[in-house]
Symmetry: C2
Subunit: 221 residues, 2 copies
DNA sequence: TAGATTGTTAATCGATTAACAATC
DNA sequence: TAGATTGTTAATCGATTAACAATC
């Protein structure tokens, strides 16, 4: 219990804890924050605090019971009633996301997929028929879809955004590298894969600079 | 100039500034932090600070010259010599990433793509031939590839990770929902799309709770 | 008992926000 | 001059880290 308020950072780490716990051999009954931190490459204290906030089954010297900890984290991640989402744009990225595993794991349900191309309408992506983009607003409203993913080319993104908003969607995850205008009560999260990779690359360069500045001193193989 | 040190958060926002600047009609010569903040839905002061850190062409009452600001941000994002990266796993997600637009924009070059399936070897993704996964380590080392993207099924992710590390890759972006073990000098960033969407969904739920708690008071249409 | 581990309380760090002086 | 906007300096906020007492 104790779900009072978890920081965004903690929430981001929970799935990784869950993944680690599930990767444990069946025989392991207990696990400590120390072990998890080492395995996941995270700070020991951070992990301990996260676990303490999430599960009250921890005992000194013993650690946490795997089963209970797993259950508690899982409960926290799913917790609410399933949220329905839609994907607009059945190109490669849209299809990849539609087939991405584990949405149910997080209480998410892919309720509809859309594309503009008449040639695609009616064909299926997994078990789902592709619906025409023109029906986005109506379909979202009908199915109580609150979340929309945009995976269309940048030129088409704003129109799709407008349609989603018209359909009552309140959260938009935009994969098109385009700037979108939306009313203030709609949350738009922009995902720019190229930019994200650029940031990672810069991280690499910075690390390297640091190392060479240190003259490779203090490096333990 | 003044590229001393930009915070990660600032670096994350820069691409959005760039996108906004490029979306401006050709006639607009100057733009203020106030305008950009409003358009992008960001805090006014945050934007002002970011711009001040990035470009010294700002003038009171006038704002920033669009051309110079665009150039300075662009320079900052590319700045270093191009970084080579590889993608292992030519499923839907791998192909989507391979075709994602704008990597060059951030000084990134997709140098090689790999897959395990013998039926795919030799066929092309865009201009690039798919190479066999067995050659990952050698190919990375030969081509000076420092960054690897993993888009294989979770079961195969650890092997791919090992191969990349063996090939000298120092930064890994892992899209498989799997926990990876890597040496401490290798940075592994985990991307779990389902978990990220779950977090967004939770955000939606929290917002909604807040609103209803406020009894919808103070909402201005 | 001894020692590892939990969980809490205080200190540090980084980023955002607020306040305000400088300037075109 | 007046007023909008920049850029800086101080205050707030949140998260991480460090220190330590509690406990099995």
């Amino acid at each position: 219990m104790g779900a009072e308020h978890l920081s965004v950072q903690t929430l981001r780490r929970l799935p990784r804890y869950l993944g680690f716990l599930r990767s444990l051999p069946a025989g392991v009954a207990h696990v400590s924050a120390t072990q998890m931190a080492a395995a996941l490459g995270l700070g020991e204290v951070a992990v301990r605090k996260d676990l303490a906030a999430v599960c009250n089954g921890g005992r000194p010297r013993t650690g946490y019971p795997v089963k209970r900890l797993t259950g508690d984290i899982h409960k926290l991640l799913v917790c609410r009633e399933p949220a329905c989402f839609a994907i607009v744009g059945m190109g490669r990225l849209g299809r990849a996301l539609a087939g991405y595993p584990g949405f149910a794991e997080y209480g998410l349900h892919l309720a509809a997929v859309f594309d503009e191309d008449p040639a695609l309408i009616g064909s299926a992506v997994g078990p789902r028929p592709i619906l025409p983009s023109a029906t986005v607003a109506a379909a979202c409203r009908e199915n109580g879809i609150g979340i929309g993913l945009i995976t269309v080319p940048p030129e088409a993104a704003q129109d799709v955004c407008d349609a989603l908003v018209a359909g009552g969607v309140r959260v938009i995850w935009n994969f098109a590298p385009a700037h979108l205008a939306a009313p203030p009560d709609v949350t738009v999260q922009h995902e720019n894969m190229a930019a994200s990779l650029g940031l990672l690359s810069r991280h690499l360069a910075d690390e390297f600079t640091k190392e060479t500045e240190n003259g490779e001193r203090g490096k333990q193989g």
